[in-house]
């Protein structure tokens, strides 16, 4: 089947079997390998992408179901070549990763959280990534990274100087 996907603000027309997951389509057809294939049945969260801004598991969605939505992958988060988003920056700084397998999904889950809630509590951060497994168990630095990113992103909106 032919399907047109809107990924990171670019349209891609792809020919897929109905049974091809959005995850496999991203990785194998479009070479967007930032979404990782972990369990492939919705448990680990490594394949998280954003669908209209909400974190979604791309292994639990078929590519044929995904037309008409704004899909964002980790490749779409950086503001420009060689640059990192504030959340990616914070993950580097606090060492919010070990092997890196869960990292793109953690960052996208954090992105979805911070776009709705600029001042998350620790509990809210933990809840937001509760569906994402880090088998290195580096959760403490991941939570720290998201809190740091939230703080910095809030800072960006503070008005300075005279009105």
């Amino acid at each position: 089947m032919k399907v047109e996907l809107d990924i990171n603000n670019e349209k891609h027309a792809v020919e897929v079997e109905p049974r091809m997951s959005l995850l496999d389509c991203l990785r194998d057809k479009l070479l967007l390998n930032g979404a990782h294939a972990g369990c492939e049945h919705g448990v680990c969260g490594a394949c998280t992408v954003l669908i209209d801004g909400a974190a979604v598991r791309s292994c639990l969605m078929f590519a044929v179901q995904a037309d008409g939505y704004a899909i964002t992958t980790i490749e779409g988060l950086s503001p420009g070549p060689g640059e990192l988003s504030p959340i990616q920056d914070a993950f580097c700084e606090t060492h919010g990763m070990q092997c890196g397998y869960c990292t793109p999904a953690m960052i996208l889950a954090a992105h979805a959280l911070l776009s709705k809630n600029s001042q998350p509590t620790r509990d809210e951060i933990v809840e937001a990534i509760s569906g994402n497994i880090c088998r290195c168990t580096g959760y403490a630095q991941i939570v720290e990274a998201i809190a740091l990113a939230a703080e910095r992103m809030r800072g960006q909106n503070i008005k300075t100087g005279q009105p």
């Binding site: 109905p18 997951s21 496999d24 919705g42 909400a54 974190a55 292994c59 078929f62 509760s130 569906g131």
Partner: protein, 291 residues
């Protein structure tokens, strides 16, 4: 973890969806797919055709009508979770929603999908059974209402005919001024499948005495269990933990809980009693705070 091949259709109307269901015994409806797709990935489900109703017009809504809150079948779970009407009128559902899957699965999963899947461990199923929701299906041109108690007939088995599509769930909104709710569940990881869950909703009079109660236990038995006898025994009474515990334990003495790798039958029975007492206590305290 790759599903077997299937055909994919996205009908433009409910009639068309029903016709497609009728034409193929092995076709399945898909909306959010958050339970069906894993089953397909593990090849426990092998539908020949998926009929995608996720974007059918007019099936995603939450509104109040005649003392009930009606929720369209394809309403996404994360929409229900943050809906002000649900928070105000269906506090039990609002309290249970964060336990439904994870943030990422609630963004795709639907209310109707969860109900039609009829997993006893599913929170929406438990709330529907506890509050006595009414479910509506469409089978071609015919629409029918059915009580939740008649809808859930076994583990992941419902009274929904093969060719029908669940279209709406209506939850009763209690109009008493002092209503409180409680919800607890035990699982291996936050928001994973519940080993046991308990839901309670009570209404109190101005003196703190119970005028109405609904109590349900999920995941312990094949279909959610309503403790109507315990609810009856609460009438006219204030919360007395030891009395409630005795009544709950007596009610659970005769059940045959499920057993699996994670939790034995004895564990489920014991935890069901503890969680039910907790949920009832929470509900009484919450209702009293509303005085």
């Amino acid at each position: 973890m790759k599903p077997a091949p299937f055909e994919y259709s996205r009908p433009a109307s409910l009639d068309e969806a029903c016709a497609l269901l009728k034409a193929d015994d092995s076709a399945r409806l898909i909306a959010g797919g958050q339970t069906l797709v894993p089953l397909m990935a593990m090849r426990l489900a092998r539908p020949t055709r998926l009929i995608d109703i996720a974007r059918l017009p007019g099936l995603a809504y939450i509104h109040e009508q005649g003392g009930e809150i009606a929720i369209g079948a394809i309403t996404k779970q994360h929409v229900v979770e943050s809906d002000p009407l649900v928070r105000a009128k269906l506090p039990l559902l609002a309290m249970a929603m964060p336990h439904v899957g994870h943030t990422a699965t609630r963004a795709r999963g639907t209310v109707g999908g969860s109900l039609a899947n009829a997993d006893s461990a599913a929170e929406i199923v438990l709330v529907a059974a506890t509050l006595g929701a009414t479910l509506r299906w469409r089978d071609g041109g015919e629409a029918r209402d059915i009580a939740a108690a008649d809808f859930f007939v076994g583990p992941m088995v419902t009274a929904l005919p093969q060719t029908a599509c669940l279209v709406e769930a209506r939850f009763p909104a209690w109009s008493e001024p002092h209503v409180g709710v409680g919800f607890h569940e035990i699982n291996a990881r936050a928001s994973d499948f519940a080993f046991v869950s308990a839901a309670a909703q009570v209404a109190l009079d101005a003196e703190g005495r119970c005028t109405r109660a609904a109590i349900g236990i999920g995941a312990a038995t094949a279909i959610p269990l309503r403790l109507d006898g315990v609810a009856q025994s609460l009438h006219g009474a204030r919360f007395d933990e030891s009395k409630v515990r005795d009544a709950v334990k007596a009610a659970l003495a005769g059940i045959e809980p499920m057993a699996d790798l994670h939790a034995s039958a004895a564990y489920r029975r014991r935890v069901a009693a503890t969680l039910a007492v907790r949920a009832i206590g929470d509900a009484f305290r919450a209702a009293a705070r509303r005085s």
